[in-house]
């Protein structure tokens, strides 16, 4: 693009300078040189600019990067947007990149977490159940501290519990910090007393130049580090280590360096020295005793015992359930008996039983069962032929029939209703039915036809066609290559299409056409998109033909890009299959 040049100047009649507007100049040039030449010139200038910039771009980036971070800062939003766009358009690409890393990282994290859990469990058990823990409990009781607190002292090498920054001259507290969970006295009083103790010691032992450096009470040590205007006091639980002394020396120096003015002219106002708090907090160090990495035996034993106990109870439960099942089967096998329901509670198995009057009494049957771990009780209903309201509901439900009775000639009881052929055959073999009455096929018993083969086939056919017609197959960007997922889906659906073709005869249907429709996303020109969508449809067609689906049935068609602005691009790069069929004696169907 041509930049707007400064207007040219020329002399007018009176000798003064007049500016020629750039617009006029260009128009003149165009008239003289022609439109085509103008276009060529413009294009040439543009290309030259591109060439010039591209030849120095890499070096320019390198140079700028070596000077400061401004390039990275400016590029950062651009790169972030590019990553967002890439993830949105090609999520599978990002997934493929990250996948090799995620798996091992997750496994490692889970393994570590489980190992830490076992170690922690072992630590807790060891400190609760071992002889050592018992001794520590007694010691803690004697010292008047909680077991948890005593346990902590045994497990830490040292801990800086409190840090005081004290004005050297007045002994006033400037700032103080304390570790979490540490109980502490009033830091103002503590700091003043430390000052007073230091002064007392100096006066008492006439040590003008020397200063108190440590105080020790049991396992608590107060380390005092003096600077010109302030004193640092650290309250340390455990063994005083050279590390802490170094930390305190460096800290007092840093404080005097960073807050020289504030410390020198301290007048009791502590707010100007609040920024020193983070520095003091860094001195709250805790160093734990090195734990030996050993097998967590306590945890292993505890978990193993738990598993054994669970395993034992599970096995016992399994045996019990099996015994109950065997008892129920045995009762059902007994002529004239039918178990309607069962309930097991408190070592008692209660069976709701329907039996005929002619069957063996329940106590005789129970004697044959002989369960060892529980008792059996029957709640029985005797089904005599004169009590159809007792057995009919059961038989109706069992054989999916709609049964009732009426009195016939010679006082016969006739069963009425609807039942399928198969279920009738089963009913006629039913032990309860046979023990109550002699079962004959009654003319009043309507035999329902079972679902025919044709009906089943047609139902399957229609379901398969609906499934095929409702699915979409997606493609890579600017290509007729299916995504991996869509490839797998198509392979599965080819099996279904072949089954559909095979079912035509039984289902009494005819497939008229298998249409394949390809589409593209809105990127690129219309012509390109139409070509691409056609290629996509043809690809799928070719796959169907490779799988012995007749060419005469299959047509392919490319629809280009359809305006679907609310649908992400990757879902617009698609194809679908539509099966058109007719039922024998009906018009075409497609869904």
């Amino acid at each position: 693009m041509l930049e707007s040049k400064p207007d040219l100047k020329e002399q007018n009649d009176s000798g003064g300078e007049v500016e020629i507007p750039d617009k006029e100049y260009r128009r003149l040039r165009s008239l003289m040189l022609g439109q085509d030449y103008e276009a060529i010139l413009t294009s040439r200038l543009e290309n030259d600019n591109v060439y010039r910039v591209s030849s120095v771009l890499t070096e320019a980036f390198k140079k700028r990067n070596s000077e400061d971070d401004s390039l990275a800062l400016e590029m950062s939003p651009v790169i972030e947007s590019a990553i967002d766009e890439s993830i949105k358009n090609h999520p599978e690409r990002i997934t493929n990149v990250i996948f090799p890393i995620i798996g091992p990282a997750v496994r490692k994290a889970v393994t570590r977490a489980l190992a830490d859990l076992m170690q922690s469990l072992n630590y807790v058990l060891q400190n609760s159940l071992s002889l050592k823990s018992l001794v520590w409990r007694i010691k803690a009781w004697r010292l008047g501290v909680s077991y948890a607190k005593y346990l902590l002292t045994q497990s830490i090498h040292y801990q800086v519990e409190q840090v005081f920054l004290i004005h050297r001259e007045s002994g006033l507290l400037i700032q103080s910090v304390q570790a979490e969970g540490v109980s502490y006295q009033d830091p103002d009083l503590v700091s003043s007393m430390l000052s007073a103790i230091s002064d007392f010691a100096k006066d008492s032992f006439e040590q003008e130049e020397a200063r108190l450096e440590t105080l020790q009470m049991g396992d608590l040590t107060i380390l005092i580090e003096a600077g010109p205007h302030a004193v640092l006091a650290l309250a340390i639980r455990g063994t005083l280590h050279a590390d802490v002394q170094q930390v305190s020396t460096e800290l007092i120096e840093a404080l005097h360096s960073n807050f020289a003015k504030e410390l020198r002219y301290f007048d009791g106002a502590t707010e100007p020295l609040e920024p020193a708090i983070p520095m003091l907090q860094e001195a709250l160090i805790t160093r734990e005793k090195a734990k030996k990495e050993s097998k967590p035996w306590f945890a292993i034993i505890a978990v193993t015992l738990l598993l054994l106990v669970l395993g034992y109870y599970s096995y016992q439960n399994y045996l019990l359930q099996r015994s109950i099942e065997q008892a129920v089967v045995r009762v059902n096998q007994e002529p004239g008996y039918q178990v309607l329901s069962r309930k097991y509670e408190d070592d008692l198995l209660t069976l709701e039983v329907l039996r005929s009057a002619m069957s063996v009494p329940q106590n005789e049957l129970i004697d044959t069962l002989k369960p060892s771990k529980y008792e059996i009780v029957f709640n029985e209903k005797i089904a005599s032929i004169d009590d159809p309201e007792i057995y009919l509901p059961y038989l109706s439900s069992k054989y999916q029939a709609n049964l009732s009775v009426e009195r016939g000639e010679q006082n016969k009881l006739i069963i009425l209703g609807e039942i399928t052929e198969n279920n009738l055959a089963r009913l006629m073999q039913d032990s309860l039915a046979n023990s109550v009455f002699s079962v004959e096929k009654s003319p009043k018993l309507i035999i329902k036809p079972s679902l025919s083969v044709q009906q089943k086939s047609r139902s399957e056919f229609v379901d398969l066609v609906q499934s095929i017609n409702s699915q979409l197959y997606y493609f890579q960007v600017a290509s007729a290559e299916l995504t991996e997922e869509s490839q797998n889906l198509l392979n599965q659906n080819i099996t279904k299409i072949r089954r559909i073709l095979d079912l035509q005869t039984l289902a009494e249907t005819t497939i008229i056409q298998i249409g394949i429709f390809g589409f593209a996303d809105p990127q690129g020109s219309r012509t390109t998109n139409i070509d691409l969508s056609q290629q996509r449809a043809k690809l799928i067609k070719s796959i169907l033909l490779e799988n012995d689906i007749s060419d005469s049935l299959v047509i392919s068609w490319g629809g280009g890009a359809i305006d679907m602005s609310s649908v992400p691009s990757q879902y617009q790069r698609r194809a679908r299959i539509e099966i058109l069929y007719e039922l024998k004696g009906a018009t075409s169907h497609a869904q």
Binding site: G171, D188, D199, D267
Partner: protein, 166 residues
């Protein structure tokens, strides 16, 4: 909030500790316990606005007598002094000039408030306020106090805070 250090000085058994106890805790104990070294207490004096609030660290220094001199090290960094004498014992006036001299030498012209304590026994007093004028302390900074009756105790400390805050 401003932190300030003040010191209680004076001869032994004049009532320095009792005055502090009355001021900080509001109690008075008839029993006498001599202070050895120094005892430190804290009291926050709230003013109308938070910015005027002062936290006083009160150093109650052991009493001066023929055996014990005032230790200047305890006075270091003080913003004000409360000098206490016992109205019932004239002898307690004797060390006050030397105490003031030590204070001026080490701390310069910091505010000093003089308390003539045990005003509950004023009828037995061996001297009056006029006898203290030679110490060079302004009238407005001299208080008759009683730790037992809580007479003028708070006023005296507030006066010192006022002088410190100027």
């Amino acid at each position: 909030m401003l932190n300030k250090k003040i010191c209680m000085v004076g001869a032994f058994a004049v009532g320095k500790t009792s005055l502090v106890k009355q001021f900080v805790e509001g109690i008075f104990d008839e029993k006498y316990h001599t202070t050895i070294g120094v005892k430190i207490d804290k009291k926050v004096i709230e003013k109308d606005s938070k910015s005027d609030t002062v936290q006083l660290m009160i150093w109650d220094i052991e009493g001066v007598d023929v055996f014990t001199n005032l230790k200047p090290t305890y006075l270091r960094g003080s913003s004000g002094i409360i000098l206490v004498v016992d109205g019932t014992r004239r002898k307690t006036l004797e060390p006050t000039e030397e105490i003031i001299s030590i204070i001026k030498e080490h701390l310069g012209n910091i505010p000093i408030v003089l308390l003539i304590n045990k005003s509950d026994l004023e009828t037995s007093w061996q001297f009056q306020i006029e006898d203290t004028l030679t110490l060079g302390i302004a009238d407005s900074n001299i208080f008759k106090t009683s730790a037992k009756n809580d007479n003028n105790v708070e006023s005296a400390f507030e006066r010192l805070v006022e002088l410190i805050s100027k």
